[in-house]
């Protein structure tokens, strides 16, 4: 279990990194935390000619808060996402998601940029990026473009990234904190394993208790995480009642079409989606209520 021989490049700036990408194209692989690329190299599932190490690009390790957006540099480690005060305050769903990734040692190295590009269907950060409508900022020698996370994630481990491009930042719109609540539930067989199914919820209530705004995301039931847009419109029937969470979760479960996999039949994933979403909805609603006092 050793990688194929490769050339190693260690650019000192983003300019140098994109110039290297332009020169080497498809034969190069970018290396951030190495927590997904490392296993793939060791197992020879990828055989690059050149590895471009981004770990010196400290300019991409940042959390920057503006009035309505939190921008996070691509090289920001999961541990920092889980512990940065700005994120804990403004994007607690993201902080929680990061804290549940793998294990303590994995979180010290793994990065948000790497996780989004790796695009594992069960990964936490792509799910949260889709649920919170984040934008992915891409850079090449030719310039910069940005694209919604939901469009960036195209298929299992497939993203809209040209061979001369790299991710430089992820921009999260800062949701209003007033009467807001969130919930995230994951199920894995062993602590730290990839979740089989995961559900993320963010919502906001009006002062009278009715829902003002809601986002529902599911991971692990399709090639990429997705939002249940058609269930997000708050109906006008008043404040959510007793059966609100289970009704909504039940409707969501009807909409998912997971594939059968060995040991994981589709009905099992659908059942998990229903239960996890119900839990996440309940958590979100009670947080939104509590804040009001």
């Amino acid at each position: 279990m050793k990688p194929v021989a490769f050339d190693y490049q260690r650019p000192a700036s983003v300019e140098d990194a994109v110039a290297l990408l332009q020169a080497h194209g498809r034969s190069a692989k970018l290396l951030s935390g190495g927590q997904s690329l490392g296993p793939m190299l060791n197992m020879r599932l990828v055989r690059p000619e050149v590895v471009i190490d981004l770990n010196d690009l400290l300019e991409l390790d940042y959390v920057r808060e503006a009035a309505d957006v939190i921008e996070i540099g691509a090289l920001t480690r999961h541990h920092r996402l889980a512990t940065a005060p700005e994120i804990l305050r403004a994007l607690p769903l993201l902080a929680y998601a990061a804290a549940t990734i793998g294990h303590f040692a994995i979180r010290q190295r793994g990065t948000i940029g790497g996780s989004l590009v790796h695009a594992d269907p069960a990964a936490q950060l792509p799910l949260v990026a889709v649920t919170l409508a984040a934008e992915i900022v891409l850079r090449s020698a030719a310039g910069t473009r940005s694209i919604p996370a939901a469009d960036f994630l195209q298929n299992v481990m497939t993203v809209d990234l040209n061979e001369d491009e790299m991710v430089v930042a992820i921009r999260f719109p800062k949701p209003s904190a007033a009467k807001a609540g969130w919930g995230m539930r994951l199920f894995s067989r062993r602590r730290g394993d990839f979740a089989i199914v995961s559900a993320a919820v963010w919502l906001r209530r009006n002062p009278d208790g009715r829902l003002a705004d809601m986002r529902l995301g599911l991971g692990g039931v399709a090639p990429v995480p997705f939002r249940l847009h058609d269930l997000e419109d708050p109906d006008d029937e008043g404040a959510p009642g007793e059966s609100w969470a289970s009704d909504l979760a039940g409707q969501a479960a009807q909409r998912v079409e997971p594939e059968d996999a060995p040991g994981l039949p589709a009905v099992y994933r659908r059942e998990l989606a229903c239960n996890l979403l119900r839990g996440a909805l309940t958590d979100a609603l009670s947080l939104a209520g509590e804040r009001h006092g």
Binding site: K2, D53, H103
Partner: protein
């Protein structure tokens, strides 16, 4: 591509001048080029935790790191924990609580918790178990490892036994 590069690895405060290919895993460089065999190798894909070392004080899988990446960084391995006074408090607690059997998983667990306890001197049992989930012990001595970490943490906080 097969060419070798002369690099300097700083491990436990010592400088090792070694010659490696770019694909050389840090775990192999430590064991075979530096002769520091306390860092163990199990799965080579990040799962078992046996190869965990500290990079600039933070735990990391040596099997998912390339030796060449480490120029300019400080590595700490199990050999660097105790110092001249013998065992660190955590190592001593592991011995006292019988936290190891064959000892294969032990170096990875010790370096992980040395770093963790520095940041989190008073962890709950659940937090200890969460961190320990990153290290597989095939002798399955987890209960004693949890007890050892608790004991070490209490001792490091200056609490009587």
């Amino acid at each position: 591509m097969d060419s070798r590069h002369d690099i300097e690895l700083s491990v436990n405060g010592d400088t090792h001048r070694i010659s490696v290919q770019a694909r050389r895993l840090l775990s192999d460089a430590l064991r075979e080029d530096c002769g520091l065999t306390g860092t163990h190798v199990g799965c080579e894909h990040g799962v078992c935790g046996a190869c965990t070392v500290l990079i600039d004080g933070r735990p990391a899988r040596a099997c998912l790191t390339y030796a060449m990446q480490m120029e300019g960084h400080e590595i700490t391995t199990i050999e660097g924990l105790g110092g001249t006074d013998g065992y660190s408090p955590l190592q001593q607690a592991m011995q006292d609580e019988h936290g190891l059997q064959c000892g294969f998983c032990t170096p990875g667990i010790l370096v992980t918790f040395e770093a963790y306890l520095r940041d989190n001197p008073d962890p709950t049992e659940d937090e200890i178990r969460d961190v320990l989930s990153g290290n597989l012990c095939r002798c399955t001595g987890y209960e004693n490892i949890v007890a050892a970490v608790k004991k070490a943490a209490a001792g490091m906080r200056g609490e009587p036994e």
